[in-house]
């Protein structure tokens, strides 16, 4: 979707504010929000692409007003509602609905390290033909899907070169909507800075994006 999250190349966002000796969390509640998101993910009711899309669905004016972890609260609530893990009334009242069943088992403390150490690899060991190989000239498709995509607007329609084939990976545009993994080749694609940003950019510079087969066409 052409949302505010897709902000590569925008102006007007202000100066970069680098904080010296920045703490991992700026308040205890931020740490709880991070942990709640990770622990709730262990129910496997959603996937990483769905979590990203849930943040993209926050209205643009809200997205810009919220801090990072506030977005994570909004996302956790929306995903939990969507998955039926909580009800709207429960979120509003803060108490379980009368007669609602207690779930089990929640992620145990002893399962935390194994879960985080394992992660959730996105590569898939399936035979899928690659449409491109290193050195091929490609054009990023000029597409504007209303759902989740990892093809930023600034690259759409632009010419690039395949730098490397990473192999076969889950396609976020499908998985974010629980439409299956649709695994396909993922490539590192080099775009010259001048192709993306015009003659004012340095002739030496470039940006590399990781793009799936379905985002690309032969140029």
């Amino acid at each position: 979707m052409n949302g505010i999250h897709d902000m590569g190349g925008m102006h007007g966002m202000g100066a970069i504010e680098h904080e010296d000796r920045e703490p991992v969390f700026h308040a205890p509640w931020e740490a709880r929000v991070l942990a709640l998101n990770l622990a709730m993910g262990a129910w496997h009711k959603w996937n990483i692409d769905a979590t990203r899309h849930a943040i993209e669905l926050i209205p643009a004016s809200e997205y810009l007003r919220m801090s990072y972890y506030e977005r994570w609260i909004a996302r956790l609530v929306s995903l939990s509602l969507q998955a039926g893990l909580v009800s709207r009334a429960e979120v509003e009242s803060g108490s379980p609905d009368a007669g609602s069943a207690k779930r089990s088992p929640a992620l145990a403390p002893s399962a935390v390290q194994p879960m985080l150490g394992r992660g959730a690899p996105a590569n898939r060991d399936v035979a899928v033909a690659a449409s491109f190989k290193a050195g091929d000239k490609v054009r990023a498709r000029n597409i504007h899907p209303i759902g989740h995509t990892r093809l930023p607007r600034y690259a759409r329609g632009r010419l690039g070169t395949i730098a490397r084939d990473h192999g076969v990976y889950v396609f976020p545009d499908s998985r974010a909507h629980f439409l299956g993994e649709n695994p396909q080749h993922l490539y590192s694609v080099r775009f010259a800075a001048r192709e993306l940003w015009g003659e004012a950019a340095s002739p030496r510079d470039s940006t590399y994006l990781d793009l799936w087969d379905d985002y690309l066409e032969r140029a």
């Binding site: 970069i16 504010e17 010296d20 700026h26 709730m40 779930r103 996105a122 800075a193 470039s206």
Partner: protein
């Protein structure tokens, strides 16, 4: 109001500009999070001890010291560096740094002629296993919006001026591949062992927004 001020204000529950004031009254947001956590505990959906374990992991165990050890070994051991550049995930796993937000690693090497910079314009993708959780500025709109259109300006703003003869490559983390910059080894570090070298390596240099020098921490960590 600048982004970080806003983050900090929310972060501390402090609305009146006293940056380091001790929080006495919990902010609305802290109360809201508390209520949500209580609900999820009551429903059996989370175990608070597991939440504590997750927080402990990212506050104390996983952070940029991991990446610094990887970099120091790459500087010290040519065979390791070769493995790291060929298959970063496997070479980093030799240290036991595996898992969430580091499942698929790529290392890009800075040289006097080539400078690599990492961003995630679409969200906040960052190599947690080697750098920990991302700093606020990395997740902020100013960095995400400008790193691709004006990388040299961004670097200048962060204190790093690059010559026109240096090539700049920006890595926009649009997939599950996670990028770690292998910074240039600072001049004068020739006699140092791996442990001492790791002390020189900063988070910012491994994102690609700083260079390393002896005696001056590039990133004010």
């Amino acid at each position: 109001m600048a982004t970080r001020d806003r983050e900090q204000r929310h972060g501390t529950g402090e609305d009146h500009g006293h940056d380091h004031a001790q929080q006495e009254v919990p902010s609305d947001i802290a109360l809201r999070v508390k209520a949500l956590e209580s609900l999820l505990i009551e429903k059996g959906l989370v175990d608070p001890a597991a939440l504590d374990a997750i927080i402990d992991m990212y506050e104390h165990k996983v952070g940029p010291r991991n990446g610094a050890r990887v970099v120091a070994r790459a500087w010290s051991d040519p065979a390791y560096k070769k493995r790291l550049m060929a298959d970063a995930s496997a070479a980093i796993a030799e240290f036991g740094y595996t898992g969430r937000q580091g499942e698929h690693m790529v290392v890009v090497e800075n040289t006097p002629r080539l400078h690599n910079l990492v961003v995630c314009t679409l969200c906040s993708c960052y190599p947690w296993t080697v750098l920990g959780l991302p700093p606020v500025w990395y997740k902020s709109a100013p960095y995400r919006s400008r790193a691709v259109i004006d990388p040299r300006g961004v670097l200048r703003e962060l204190g790093l001026e690059l010559g026109e003869d240096v090539e700049v490559r920006v890595w926009d983390s649009t997939s599950e591949m996670r990028y770690l910059v292998l910074p240039e080894r600072p001049a004068g570090s020739e006699g140092m062992d791996e442990a001492a070298l790791a002390e020189l390596v900063t988070r910012d240099a491994m994102i690609g927004v700083a260079k390393l020098t002896l005696g001056k921490r590039g990133d004010r960590p």
